[in-house]
Amino acid sequence: MRFHAPAIIAASLILGACAQTTIRDSESVATAQPPTVPVQSAPQPIEPEAVQPAVEPVYNDMIVLLPKPNGQIGGVVVRSSDGGGDGLVLDKPYAGARIEGPGKVRAVTYDAELTRQEFGTAISALPSRPATFVLYFLEGKDELTGESEGEVARVFDELKSRPDPEIWVIGHTDAVGSMQYNDQLSLQRAERVRDELVSRGIPADSIEVSGRGKREPLIPTSEGTPEPQNRRVQIDVR
């Protein structure tokens, strides 16, 4: 085997660049190491007046429950970080706890205004809630029902309002027809919805499409039963 001179020169240049990068990397790793601790000198005798009593820092950690849109509150159990005690259970809107140190968990009550003042910026930075939409289809077809046709614009607006949406489009069928036929039909329905969303301006790479055939009916039926509620595409977004 005989190598051409230009190839050898170019190859060595490239390898040289590689080597340099590698060295730079290892240097940056080396400097990232914590500095070595200087050797301590022998302890000096401590003057009596220099002795400080051990001080516990006073913490001021707060937690406040928010009212939930649907009113269901499962609650939060608050313990001081030493883990002792049963813990204080918060399960009402604006119920709160102040934790000042080991064993010091105190119940406090906030209101809407105080919560907004102290936590407003964090609350307004909460991302949009993950959501699910369902569109229904005509029997045996990948065409939306008239009602769902009208829904598409609303769904699109909701998806479009989200920064960096992650969307799953999942097709389903009713129990009429073979497994293979319904797998195909469910995927066709999902792809139809995906194409519709993409044509309206949702980036294609933010949508994942799948078909579940007749495996996951919304309404369980016997084999071969037409059921409009099962002929659907579910759109999950977060």
């Binding site: 190839a7 190859a11 499962g74 939060v76 159990v77 936590f119 407003g120 910026t121 964090a122 909460l126």
Partner: protein, 161 residues
Amino acid sequence: MKKVLTFQRDILILGFLTLLCAFLASPRVMAADDEAGRVKVSKGEVYIERAGKRVPAPVGAAVQASDTVVTGSDGSVGITFHDNSLLSAGPNSELVIDKFVFDSTTHKGEFDTSLKKGTLAVVSGKIVKQSPEAMRIRTPAAIMGVRGTEFVVKVDEPIAN
């Protein structure tokens, strides 16, 4: 003819070496499996500390377990996790994602975070719905077991007594 063939071979070797070099020099690309959530809201100064390095955190950035999410005095950030939990932090905050494990089939998982300072808003997700208190939020003085709710947390700098 022979000339052309050796030329082609040279090109092939060059191409291979270039690829090899690019592979060696580039930082290891994180597998998508490492992603625990994604930044959906990012205002002002926001960054992630990952393995001792600062990573920018614009909308769309991946958040992984053992990341520390930091906001500046004008910053706020909102993250959606794979179990649909939402976390957001206000200005001057430091939030450590200690642990995030989630099985999207069984919805079992564990979610541990620590608020070192600043403010945090939390909306619990599927992990908590499946196993109450599998989501825990730590602060310097407290540990909170989440049973399913929305709440806010604040950590002030501790005062020496």
